[in-house]
């Protein structure tokens, strides 16, 4: 049966909000899988099903001026950081209406308005960026926090050590959030780390670090709130190890040979959405019609988003060379694919570098 952290659900309206947030992510990811199967979404797709409580809980603690750096499993983070579901799906359709004009795709969602510094397909590639964003805030004397999400797989990368050390050395306002879902693609934690207690690793840099039940959205929200406040008030970097589990494969083409079905089933019994839903119903805070209405709202949001993505348009190929540099001809004379262009035609406009 659902077991939330001891004090159970306090404020019904807020709990409803958290439930809605998690359900929005769940339905968005389920739709992504369906659209991928129908070959509408291509490339790689990594879904967040099972880990929704982490994003929902941490995002509650952030202010609009804070910054977020995430990984290639970032649809949920983007959605809950207020990037619209339509812009996210259109991006995965490769359409110009996507949040990055169709250039980033599932693994590279960015949004300047919400300071969402995006997906990053290189494991741990985002950690130094987060440190730098925090460095800028500290040097400019701003009270902003940068949150950096990464999986336990990143802990094995050199950049994890370098970033943690820099953040601690310079007491930078960054919150490290390690989403420990036990598997780095096909490698279980025990087969990649000598020391598997992630929070203990962080403590070695004298960064205060807590392990949190990543399936309990209230626990996550409470821990994240305390950590963000400490960071914002100059308490230096903080580290959360959020123990969670992904119910689906690493990505769309993973036959999941590395783990037992029984383990998946066992974790699914603590589905973060069912946990909160059960607790609220137990506390009489979620009448059937509210729950039905909430699901209908979410389904409507998702189908509107699909419509938006379907009606999107491809970015004109003529725009391809824009934003390689900040809008000026990249190379004065060279006409891109060159060839034996006559000399006088050589002054063609700059193009994508051939």
């Amino acid at each position: 049966m659902s077991t939330l952290k001891n004090q159970g659900v306090t404020d019904a309206e807020h709990a409803g909000h958290l439930l809605r947030q998690m359900l929005r992510v769940r339905r968005l990811e389920e739709k992504c899988i369906e659209l991928y199967s129908a070959a509408k979404i291509r490339g790689f797709l990594h879904v967040y099903i099972g880990e929704e409580a982490v994003a929902a809980g941490v995002m509650e603690a952030l202010a609009p001026e804070d910054a977020v750096v995430a990984t290639y499993r970032e649809h949920g983070h983007a959605l809950l950081r207020r990037v619209s579901a339509g812009a996210i799906l259109a991006e995965m359709y490769g359409h110009a209406e996507g949040c990055c004009r169709g250039r980033g795709g599932s693994m590279h969602l960015f949004d300047a308005a919400t300071r969402f510094y995006g997906g990053n397909a290189i494991v741990a590639g985002g950690l130094p960026l987060a440190v730098g964003l925090a460095l800028a805030d500290r040097m400019a004397g701003r009270q902003r926090v940068t949150v950096c999400f990464f999986g336990e797989g990143a802990v094995a990368e050199g950049e994890f050590h370098e970033s943690m050390n820099l953040a601690a050395l310079w007491q930078l306002p960054v919150l490290f959030c390690c989403e420990n879902n036990l598997y780095a693609m096909g490698t279980a934690l025990g087969r990649s780390e000598s020391q598997t207690d992630i929070a203990l690793k962080a403590a070695a840099y004298e960064i205060s670090a807590w392990a949190v039940d990543g399936m309990d959205v209230l626990a996550v929200e409470q821990a994240a709130g305390r950590a963000v406040d400490a960071v914002r008030s100059g308490g230096g970097p903080h580290f959360l190890e959020l123990r969670t589990y992904r119910f689906r494969a690493h990505s769309m083409f993973d036959p999941e040979l590395y783990r037992e079905k029984s383990e998946v089933a066992q974790w699914m019994e603590r589905d973060p959405i069912s946990l909160l839903q059960g607790a609220m119903q137990e506390a009489g805070q979620l009448p059937e019609e509210d729950w039905a209405a909430l699901q209908a709202d979410v389904d409507a949001e998702i189908s509107t988003a699909v419509g938006f993505a379907e009606n999107g348009t491809p970015e004109p190929v003529s725009e391809l060379s824009r934003f390689v540099y900040s809008d000026r001809a990249e190379d004065g004379g060279y006409t891109g694919d060159g060839g034996t262009a006559e000399r006088d035609t050589r002054s063609g406009k700059g193009g994508a570098e051939g």
Binding site: A67, G98, C99, C100, R101, G102, R103, G104, H108, F110, D111, A112, Y117, G118, N120, A121, I122, G125, L127, P128, L129, A130, V131, G132, L133, A134, L135, A136, D137, M139, A140, T146, G158, E159, H161, E162, S163, N165, L166, L169, R322, F323, V324, Y325, S326, E330, D331, G332, G333, Y334, G338, G339, T340, A341, R343, R346, S347, G350, A352, E353
Partner: protein
């Protein structure tokens, strides 16, 4: 005034930091030690540890942090001690700095300047003698500058800092002690055009010598000696490897019909290969001889002086290539 390349670069740093408080210098031993090539000597005392920021030995970490700080509104100058160590930060430079603007659909600029010492010739052995600026010139999204004169050492940094996109500045190790005259009021310079430092007057057999950075001095020396043999030369200092100033190259070759490219990188896949390819593609019917290239021999740079000299471009090898091009000894 009389000055050196190192002092000119230091003046550039001081000037930039005085003009814009968002500018700060970050790198290994740039503070207390004064910079491994003493470029930032004295700046810690003047600007303090916050803006002259020593870093741990974490190239990927502090280069990534520089990129993050640029995203956060600062104007960082990150010093990677030498291009040899930049290999540890390649992922941050190529997958983040060079790519974020395009991948984000134009949302995020990365106004960062990364300075590195490059090149061989000081018997530092294979791991400390690389010339990899040509590699970086392969990456769309980066601008690559190679200051070879005092004016460029003094003037390129501020222009680079105004650029909203990442700029990499490669300083050849052998140039730091180069002394000469520099106007007292020398300031920022344009970085889009190559410089024609010497013009063939069309009397005798003529050709175009194209080079950049550390090899410029030996090419100018070769040009003087070639003139005595009746071989007249245009000498082009590229100054920027990306974007390449193709116009200046082609205009010169159209006049001289011959070209020798001098590049300290290894021949295969080097920037000289790109230049030769463009000349063959766009000035093919102006050519009266194949494009010659003088590059480092494709060996790890050896320690012993005579071996290193044999491996690197030299005045003699440039003159031999020039003679081959004009068919003087053909």
């Amino acid at each position: 005034m009389k000055t050196t390349y190192r002092e000119a670069m230091r003046a550039a740093l001081r000037d930039a930091m005085q003009r814009d408080e968002r500018v700060f210098l970050m790198g290994e031993d740039v503070g207390r030690y004064g910079g491994s090539f003493a470029v930032s000597l004295g700046l810690l005392e003047e600007f303090g540890p916050d803006r002259i920021r020593d870093t741990p030995l974490s190239e990927s970490g502090f280069v990534g942090a520089g990129i993050g700080a640029a995203l956060g509104g600062m104007r960082p100058v990150v010093e990677i001690m030498t291009v040899n160590f930049s290999l540890l930060a390649l992922d941050q430079i190529i997958n983040n700095a060079a790519t974020l603007l395009h991948m984000s659909g134009g949302q995020f600029n990365v106004p960062i300047v990364i300075r590195m010492t490059t090149g061989a010739g000081r018997q530092l052995g294979a791991q400390h003698s690389h010339s990899l600026e040509g590699w970086y010139a392969h990456i769309p999204g980066l601008r690559i500058l190679t200051p070879a004169t005092l004016a460029d050492a003094r003037g390129m940094l501020w222009t680079a800092l105004q650029d909203p996109d990442p700029v990499l500045i490669f300083e050849h190790g052998s140039l730091y002690n180069m002394a000469g005259d520099l106007d007292d009021d020398a300031g920022p310079v344009d970085v889009d055009k190559a410089a024609l430092l010497r013009h063939a007057d069309g009397t005798g057999e003529s050709l175009t010598l194209i080079t950049y950075g550390g090899t410029l001095p030996l090419v100018l020396a070769a040009a003087d000696q070639l003139a005595e043999e009746g071989i007249d030369t245009d000498v082009i200092d590229l100054r920027t490897l990306r974007p390449l100033d193709t116009h200046t190259i082609l205009d010169s070759v159209a006049g001289t019909h011959r070209a020798v490219v001098v590049d300290e990188g290894w021949r295969s896949g080097s920037i000289s290969a790109e230049i030769a390819a463009r000349i063959c593609e766009l000035a093919f019917f102006d050519l009266d001889a194949p494009v010659e290239r003088v590059c480092s021999l494709e060996v790890p740079v050896p320690y012993a002086k005579h071996l290193e000299e044999a491996a690197l471009p030299s005045v003699g090898r440039v003159m031999a290539a020039a003679r081959r091009a004009v068919g003087a000894n053909g």
